[in-house]
């Protein structure tokens, strides 16, 4: 009798990754999400062309662009979250609605952004009780929208993009990947 072919090994129970994961900013949870987190490294490769080329050729690939992005749907909207999804937004009394407890003014268009999130981490549980994470040493929320719905939590769809920080210890030229994939024994070692 022949058993069916499978890809399972003795390492599978340890290496399988479970659940939706949690988004952190540094060592602090970003918030509660509905559904899972999606990570897209956004890598573009170019296989160099030449006259007579009939198929992509080994050794001629070059990674030309990286646009790493984490996306998900958050279901809470705290004052901290406002400043995370609106980089640089400040609580200001000027122009606020009378009686408002706080009034966050987004950064004006046309200005260079100066406010970034440090160590954004999409963190997932492994079968062995440890963790794997994708970390953006520097990042910003580049897109979000809010959808409310009857009888359910609010849905804030966010996209966080990595930004290469030239002052980061891991920086080694403009080709440096602005993200890391890391394995952890604890959430905040």
């Amino acid at each position: 009798m022949t058993a069916p072919l499978t890809g399972f090994t003795t390492a599978f129970p340890d290496d399988v990754v479970l659940d939706s994961g949690v988004l952190y900013v540094g060592t602090t949870v970003f918030g509660a999400f509905a559904g899972g987190l999606k990570f897209d490294p956004g890598i573009t490769y170019r296989n160099i062309d030449f006259d007579g080329k009939r198929s992509p050729v080994k050794g001629l690939d070059r990674k030309t662009m990286m646009m790493p992005k984490i996306s998900g749907t958050c279901i809470q909207y705290s004052t901290t979250n406002v400043q995370q999804v609106e980089p640089g937004a400040t609580d200001t009394a000027a122009g606020e609605w009378t009686g408002a407890q706080s009034s966050y003014a987004p950064v004006a268009a046309g200005e260079l952004m100066t406010s970034y999130l440090a160590d954004v981490r999409a963190l997932w549980l492994r079968g062995n009780g440890e963790y794997v994470q994708v970390r953006f040493p520097s990042a910003m929320v580049t897109k979000y929208d809010i959808t409310s719905q009857d009888g359910a939590e609010i849905a804030i769809a966010i996209e966080v993009e990595a930004r290469l920080d030239t002052e980061w210890a891991g920086y080694d030229g403009t080709g440096t990947a602005p993200y890391r994939i890391e394995y952890l024994a604890t959430v905040n070692p």
Partner: protein, 168 residues
């Protein structure tokens, strides 16, 4: 002809998902060892005699007690290796004044089995459940009996998958 085999106390190798009997025993030990976020254990509510049984309670019956019933379904999508194991947990008390004990015991079971990730033998994961408090019985049933039934969906990768993988 060899003698029939019997499972006697302390002969099972645990934790293990190698057999249904071992899965029962592993889950039972997991429930009894679990400490809630409030520092409570199952034994605080059902007694230190650890009255957690498989399928039925032995006589004489001492209340409250818990019974476990496991249904295992394999999925062809994973070559039959991944299973959805439905664990029915019944906590029964008598007289009616034991209802708070029964509900509290099931709270511990809920916390334990909805946060379960056990990779010590194969992989057992629990995240969801359906829980119901039984209505008061009427004649001919005993109206003094109280009970809570929880049905827990576990997904289970029995350890057999890795032993077969090694043979490939």
């Amino acid at each position: 002809m060899s003698k029939p085999k019997y499972v006697v106390p302390n002969t099972l190798q645990l934790p293990s998902t190698a057999s249904t009997v071992q899965i029962y025993a592993t889950l039972r030990n997991t429930l009894l060892a679990y400490t809630s976020s409030c520092g409570e254990r199952l034994g605080d509510f059902i007694g230190e005699q650890e009255r957690v049984y498989v399928r039925a309670v032995p006589s004489p019956v001492v209340f409250p007690y818990i019974t476990l019933l496991l249904n295992r379904t394999s999925q062809s999508a994973y070559n039959g290796y991944r299973e959805i194991a439905t664990l029915e947990v019944q906590c029964i008390g008598k007289p009616e004044s034991q209802l708070p004990l029964v509900e509290s015991a099931m709270d511990i079971v809920d916390q334990c089995l909805t946060s379960l990730t056990d990779a010590r033998s194969g992989l057992t994961v629990g995240r969801s459940r359906n829980r119901q408090t039984l209505p008061q019985f009427s004649t001919p049933a005993d109206s003094n009996v109280v009970g809570v039934v929880g049905v827990y969906d576990l997904f289970l990768w029995p350890v057999v998958l890795t032993s077969r993988a090694e043979a490939q």
